[in-house]
Symmetry: none
Subunit: 200 residues, 4 copies
DNA sequence: AATGAATGAGGGTTCATTCAT
DNA sequence: GATGAATGAACCCTCATTCAT
């Protein structure tokens, strides 16, 4: 009675399709067609379409499924850790996670992935909160707009995570440079400080 | 040396096709099909294909044509300016240039663009030379591998340039953070220094 | 003769499927897919197919189910009423019935519906009998072949019933024109009459 | 110089596709798929799609191409002949023309055929004008709304033309019945006449 | 040499039917 | 026996490339 008909297999097949899509999403050269995903999952093409209602919802589910734990982890870090440590840890985990899942396919351009877009928004917001918190704690420079900085950090981190092939130590170097670059400027206080680095 | 009359038209058409492809490459929502490029160029589709031998060579020419002056400028800066100033200036110009050409289309995934790839290699190499030079001059930290750092800077800069929509001040903030993050670590010398920033 | 308990459910489901198919058949814009019919019936798609052995038999049953009472009514009228009154009444009821069930879906093209085809044959035959009877009674013109006239009346009536949207009074006008057009030609008898209306 | 490139063949192929579509449209059992049309025309499927921009525009062109000369002829008759003769002649020609082109496929349900719809509107309007003119001339009964009558005549004529197989003399019988049914009711004048035929 | 047109290959999606539960 | 899910076949459409003009 606990297994309502074939529902169990359907769930399994849905999961198989999702995993196949996720795997192909991570393979830079893959075709990322419905048929390719179906073949990878050992299913018929129509099955994966039916399971998700189309190609875009499937890819949205795959990509957002990769992104969601990262965002949740970031939100947890924001609540539990000191802001700057939260930021540092989050960056490390973000890059590690994305790299572990290789990269994200290039074939996603022009697609409408609402869940993924929403998650990216949450991610940027969390990073902004981390930066604001760190600024309030005096451990991050105050001459940069937190909103701008969060976009900057997010985009750059995403690019670093996507880099393939990635040279040894790339992620650590990125984190080092960003965190050091975000430190308060020595020898001066918050107000009236001349910008130490500007583009001419 | 007088080229036959037809040759002149061929060169002109090649240029028209290239300009059209470049323009469409920069429009995020564009179709980027051969026919769309041909229509933009005021040519026939077959002419566009003929002029470059296919769609990929055409796009390769378009993208590398955008990238090449940037690389040449970087190489010039490397020869003419102090390394750190060269790096800062180059980053500013790279981002400004890319942003001015909006972004690069999303439809380039999975394509084989050898000339573009080669240019990216040259770019990374130039950046690495800048960094090495700056390190030798003592104005950049020595605890990071220049090869890794150049990839880091290049990838991040590219991502920043592609960001759309870009918040006001994003490019400046990026340059500020990166340049400050690359500065020598105060209060210590090259050898035996404990890493000021590490990932836990 | 006591049917097993399951048989009762099967009969009920068959009826549910039939009613759903009938309802959707009458909705001009409906999808008329097996799944849509099943959903409307509150059944599974496989059940609907099983109950009738396919989609076409189901639709045949639905359409012929709509048509059958009309035919039976026509046969009853033929037996019970004066031929011309039978014809007039039948036309009115046919159109009213079909219109009440809106129209018949457009998606029936190319389908093989033997029961429906047979009913249409019966219908034409009944109409022919009505016309022949009325002719014998001297209330319908004799210069037209009853077989041809029955097809003519049937086809036209069907078209009128299907008209959507139907202007107010369409059915009445149709019956008026047809019945008046079928009246005996005044001032002449059966033989040797010059055709009062011919196509040049 | 008079033949601009391959344009001549393109026109020919477009015509071939149109003729194939028209022919298949007239075959009751035909598939009416793009591929079937293309095979009939001796062309590739993509060619016929490209030539018309899709399946619906192609079918619209085919059906409206059949209908247009009929409408033009009706409009000419309206201008040139006495209204009742115009109506009679038009009905004969309409049915003859449509029958000559067999019937129109059943697979057109649910399609959006704007040109065809517009032509049908023009047709109904012309018929209405014929009826109004004949009424004013005193040769058609005045107890029926011309707008309703035109719909009635058009729908019925269309159904007669579509009838397949059509018994010998069907068209003539139809015209005879309709024209006689539309005659002024004898022994009374326009006003206050009791309806000679009404539905109870 | 340039080109509009043709097309084969491939993509996403729908649907009547079949099958394991 | 009933059912949700699976699927092969078929459909319409797009596009890079080829070809006759």
């Amino acid at each position: 009675m606990s297994t309502p008909g074939r529902r169990a297999d359907a769930v399994r097949n849905r999961q198989l399709a999702l995993e196949a899509a996720t795997a192909l999403t991570a393979e830079p050269g893959a075709s990322l067609t419905v048929e390719a995903i179906a073949k990878r999952a050992g299913l018929g093409a129509a099955t994966v379409v039916r399971a998700f209602g189309g190609k875009e919802p499937l890819l949205d589910a795959a990509v957002s499924g990769l992104l969601e734990p990262v965002v949740r982890r970031a939100e947890a870090l924001l609540r539990e850790a000191a802001p700057d440590q939260a930021l540092r840890t989050f960056l490390a985990e973000l890059i590690a996670f994305q790299s572990a899942h290789h990269a994200i396919s290039d074939h996603l351009g022009g697609l409408d992935l609402p869940a993924t877009t929403a998650l990216r928004g949450r991610l940027v917001q969390v990073v902004e909160d981390m930066i604001t918190g760190a600024r309030d704690a005096g451990v991050i420079r105050t001459d940069l707009d937190p909103a701008v900085t969060s976009v900057l950090v997010g985009q750059a981190a995403y690019a670093i995570a996507r880099t393939n092939p990635a040279p040894e130590g790339l992620a650590d170097a990125f984190i080092t440079v960003v965190m050091d670059g975000l430190r308060p400027v020595k020898g001066q206080d918050d107000s009236g400080r001349p910008a130490p680095s500007t583009v001419t």
